[in-house]
């Protein structure tokens, strides 16, 4: 499966049960990126979309339910238990330091993935957002 996560400078994802940040430009990018594929997410993640994209699938255990070609937009669910099923990680960097108490538990650099693409763009409420696409090494 392919996982999408957004992190701050310290790899943080949540603070006090709440996402660290959000940006409508990121949501639009995710919609474009996942077009034609299922996009799994929890109800909490779905709550940041004003209109859910057509490809959205809601589950409280999206990493369990997603198929091999599907995307999962993850906010705080541990990735490590699903490490072997993850073929790609789309890591969105806020390029900001936020408070955090839940951190990304699987750094793509440390699980045999290779950076395939990186792109900077301006968000609506963030000066510079970076989107990295990491893929598992072939063979």
């Amino acid at each position: 499966m392919r996982v999408i996560v957004a992190v701050d400078d310290r790899g943080g994802v949540l603070f006090n049960h709440r996402r660290q940040s959000t940006d409508r430009v990121v949501r639009r990018r995710i919609e474009e990126l996942t077009e034609g594929h299922a996009l799994w997410m929890t109800r909490y993640t779905a709550s940041q979309f004003i209109t859910l994209p057509e490809q959205a699938r809601i589950s409280e255990r999206p990493l369990r339910d997603a198929g091999p070609e599907d995307y999962c937009f993850v906010e705080g669910e541990p990735l490590l238990p699903h490490r072997d099923d993850i073929e790609e990680i789309v890591r969105i960097l806020w390029n900001r330091k936020y408070p955090g108490d839940v951190f990304l538990d699987l750094r793509p650099e440390e699980c045999g993935m290779v950076l395939q693409n990186t792109e900077d763009f301006a968000g609506y409420s963030h000066e510079k957002i970076t989107m990295e696409i990491w893929k598992r090494k072939e063979g």
Binding site: R10, H17, R18, E77, G100, S125, H126
Partner: protein
Amino acid sequence: MRKRRKSGRRPLTGTLVFMAFIIVLCFLVNPPGVKKAATTESASIAASVAAGTNDDAQADTDGAAAQAPAATTGTSFQLADIPPYAGAPYVAVNNNVPYFSDSNLTEVSFEQYGDLDPLGRCTAAYACIGQDLMPTEKRGDISSVRPTGWHNVKYNGIDGKYLYNRCHLIGYQLTAENANEKNLITGTRYMNVEGMEPFENMTADYIKESGNHVLYRVTPIFEGNNLVASGVLMEGRSVEDGGAGVLFCVYCYNVQSGITIDYATGDSSESADAGNSAQVRTNQAAPTATQAAATANQTEAAYIGNSHTHTFHRPDCSSVARMSDKNKVTFSSREEAVSAGYDPCEICNP
């Protein structure tokens, strides 16, 4: 150099409870004998403010997070309940629920900076922050302000070298205040950048994205007649969504690794055992049961060292998961780890 002027006025009830909050904090922090102004009537108001509403606690989500370790719970903030600094720049207070009451909530922007106390120290800064209060131009010069306990002192190993910053209670990016003596305290570089700024960033970006308001209060906590604050209490709650977007209540420690501070005067010196000052190097909080909570224990510890191997790691390094708790030490910066004699891990390359 002037920011756009703010719209909106503080509601009268908000003013009353704000004043009462300052009074109750002074009462709680200052020992007997220190000048206090609390009357029976105001103390009564303060009690109701401090009791606040804890309904916010369950303005919750489906997120899988664990709560940051709570320092204190109950109806009022007490410095005595704050644990000694243990490597994290802040600690959750009152289960991360601010001491605001429902009567504090308003969708009208305002800002208020408490008068200096008889020793010239800042009191609380309080605002309902909306986009209309945020800056439209770059920050101006604030060097004309000399907060209590201020010293221009440099040390090697500190980012920018200066131990102290003129710390905005309410950050410039939120209410565009420049050289306002009621909003600037003597704070360490560490508290400014690692403790307070992340909350300011989170609040600012939320307001920009949503267009909503955040009720926000920062209270410097002085012990007795000290001129330098021991730390600051930061509270924030998003208004229109009932705290679903932003909700925090934390205490940020006014400390700096490797430096001993005399809080009475602001004098400072390198710790005898540099990097090992009693203020800055203690064991981490005990681990908790769940994986998420285990992650929470590493909150803001930029690096984890192994006292057995004298190697330091990124918190998410696989070696940390295998490390015995008794061997774990935390560092807030790479420099701190290196100066303490630790070598970088060859796996995570911190």
